[in-house]
Amino acid sequence: MKEITEILLEFGALSLVAFGGAGTVLPELHRIAVETHHWMSDATFSYLVAISQAIPGPNVIIVTLIGWHTAGLAGALAATVAMCAPSSLLIFILMHFWEKIRGTRWRLTIQTGIVPLAVGLVLASGFIVTRGADKSLGAFAITAATVLIVLYGKLNPLWLIGIGAIFGLAGLV
């Protein structure tokens, strides 16, 4: 029960500062799950992120996996609801207001000011997952190759995930 309460409080609060979406909250999820509450190890966190990337659908599903790992089915549901409900309620209330202030300068300004923070947080997420997952030269090579292929190629990420799984199974990572 203690974990469920912690999940509801931590993820519920996080929901309201998750500017830029689920990709930007991975560092905070890591801090909560690994450093503060010791729900899992660094490596397990990275594996759960890996699994969440392989699941079709929104990447917010990482919180479902963290919840499941921490407190079973109740934890999974609590984590998903806590992460989605507060922000959904907020956007539900503010949607009409937003359409009214369309094109105004201060809206544009706020939007611009948020971008660098989202960029920094996504890069921090990548760094944290790399730190937890890549323990060998082969792993670093796969991470680097993935970055290059995504930036300069056109391969669907699911193929890359499949290839990564095969490389892993072949003992190259």
Binding site: L16, V17, F19, E28, R31, T44, S46, Y47, V49, I51, S52, Q53, G57, P58, V60, I61, T64, T80, P86, S87, I91, F92, M95, R105, W106, Q111, T112, I114, V115, P116, L117, V119, G120, L121, V122, L123, S125, G126, F127, I128, V129, T130, G132, A133, D134, K135, A139, T143, A144, A145, T146, V147, V150, L151, I161, I163, I166, F167, G168, V173
Partner: protein, 156 residues
């Protein structure tokens, strides 16, 4: 997200391209998972509160079931060496996918070079200093918005 756009705008014609861009701008700007926000907005537009709730449920139901299934499998078999090896491979790719997404987003910042300092600051604060997100965000967001207003969006 590009898949969501083509389904919503081109195939189902729920929204015009311009409506999609406006709503998506809001969903990116507001806290919370973007696509979750988007489904709330679209559901709300058609059916009000019940539409928003149903749309959210539809979006999340299948992925949650899959996540719980995979989570259970991980709990049961996660310690097997072969599974560990596969997960190490996938995690290495996942790290690359996230970094590439960050770099792609960073390309937008070249238009506003002064703002890059805020990317570096928040990256440093959360990844190396392990500071909690909320105070870091509360400190950096107003500064970043002020710089955006002062230098890039036509005076504060």
């Amino acid at each position: 997200m590009s898949w969501a756009r083509s389904a919503i705008v081109d195939e189902l014609r729920w929204l015009s391209s311009e409506e999609f861009t406006t709503l998506f701008g809001l969903c990116q700007f507001m806290p919370g998972p973007n696509i979750v926000n988007l489904s709330v907005c679209i559901g709300n537009r058609f059916q009000g509160a019940s539409g928003a709730a149903i749309s959210l449920l539809g979006l999340l139901f299948a992925p949650v079931v899959i996540a719980v299934t995979l989570g259970a499998l991980y709990g049961r078999f996660g310690d097997l060496p072969a599974i560990q090896a596969v997960l190490r491979g996938i995690a290495a790719v996942a790290a690359g996918l996230i970094i590439a997404m960050g770099l792609r987003m960073a390309a937008d910042l070249l238009k506003w070079p002064l703002l890059i300092i805020f990317s570096v600051a928040i990256l440093w604060a959360v990844a190396f200093l392990h500071w909690p997100l909320l105070p870091v965000m509360l400190a950096l967001a107003p500064l970043s918005i002020w710089v955006a207003a002062r230098f890039y969006c036509g005076g504060a």
